[in-house]
Symmetry: C2
Subunit: 255 residues, 2 copies
């Protein structure tokens, strides 16, 4: 049996607002979950500042599938009308592409702003698209996302990013989605560690993660199993349930 | 006047739970804000999976100050007792260091677990420390963090990570902290873009960011100014306030 190709993706979050701690990123979880439904695994996230060379280097590295890069690279942030929005021009440079006014993008802006006199130079910038790139529809605020080869340039505002992601999701090629199950027990993770390691050895194709939780002054543990094969998932989950029961957890939460 | 050195840091979040979208990272904001108070800027965050070679490569790259790396590198996650906790052994390998049982770390575990019979092989793993590394006190759960040169290895659980971070924060050398001010207006960011770009040109040492917000079906904008020089901060903030007022915002929120 040939091993199935595993499709992977990276996410680049561009912007000083996350790095300064002001804003909490909300895009990673959305993209991770939706990608998984397409059978694509999010393997790496990078948060970088609005720095042209940094954007160029990061996109070039992560999209290079021949050298440890990923099948898909998504960026969020920095495609708006203000001076600190430099994502599009930076990625165009990474691809050696010129920016040009896109008639389609301009029409979308016009449809949103209603009147040509409202399309200021700053707003027009959002219709300057790398020559030959594909546009990603933005039903929320007019300015489109951009797709160049395996790179997808999205807005940073979660509501807009989500609509852009949903527009391209069906076009992404992926493998089988990972299934996840979790077993949560009121036991310290050091208590389950030995038994868990043995289960992991018996199921090499299931990734078993152990995540300590601290609630109400006590440590508990969430054990997460991820895999593609349903039979192996069911069997390994049952073994984890048996393990925590044998250690004294009477009512593990299975989800 | 000599330009002051700017101290920078990178954060590496290690673990599949963030990449799968299950868990929302809460450590970035804490570290970013606390670092800024020490005069250190968080310049990059990477979220990577529990993969030995990936951990080695990422730590080695980001800590290399001669090649675009940072003065400080912090890692969170993967230092617990279970089979998927491979951060310590991976970073030891990145430094070419052997692991050895640390008497101090073992004593801390013993003090936490009370009885030697409770120190299972899995728990003992948390006292296996790279030879010559410094320990970072963990008053919450016994197992220490680790410091090797400019790399700090912390737990992933926010409460534990925070206590470890707070223990080392006073020892970090930094410059002047950045001061941030924000001006929030009920205006689309494309509306303020032209005027804002002019203000940015007049204050090259103040970083002005524009962050669109979407609330109650309307777009607003949060304009954030960051800098070290108080006079320039005050003057540029006033100009931004004047700008949004000239565009029709009667009551900008200044914070």
């Amino acid at each position: 049996m040939t091993k199935e190709k595993i499709y992977t993706a990276a996410l680049i979050i561009i912007g000083d607002e996350i790095l300064s701690g002001r804003t909490q990123d909300k895009n990673t979880a959305y993209i991770a979950e939706k990608l998984n439904m397409q059978g694509v695994r999010l393997k790496e996230v990078r948060v970088i500042s609005d720095d042209k060379q940094k954007i160029i280097d990061t996109v070039s590295e992560l999209r290079d599938t021949d050298n440890g890069g990923h099948d898909y690279v998504f960026t969020t942030g920095g495609i708006g009308p203000t001076h600190d929005d430099i994502t599009t021009e930076s990625i165009a440079e990474a691809f050696g592409m010129e920016l040009e006014l896109s008639a389609t993008a301009y029409a979308a802006l016009l449809s949103y702003y209603k009147d040509e006199s409202e399309i200021t130079e700053s707003r027009k910038k959002m219709a300057m698209i790398p020559k030959g790139a594909k546009l990603v529809d933005n039903p929320v605020s007019g300015a489109p996302g951009i797709n160049i080869e395996n790179v997808y340039i999205f807005a940073g505002v979660p509501r807009i990013m989500q609509s852009m992601f949903d527009a391209v999701a069906p076009t992404l090629q992926g493998g089988k989605p990972m299934v996840a199950k979790s077993v949560t027990a009121d036991l310290a993770e050091s208590h389950v560690a030995d038994g868990l390691a043995e289960i992991q050895l018996r199921y090499p194709d299931i990734a078993i993660g152990s995540y300590p939780q601290y609630k109400n002054g006590r440590f508990g543990t969430c054990l997460v199993l991820r895999g593609i094969d349903e039979a192996a998932m069911n069997a390994s989950t049952q073994e984890v349930v048996d393990l925590v029961k044998s250690l004294g957890e009477e009512n593990p939460v299975i989800a």
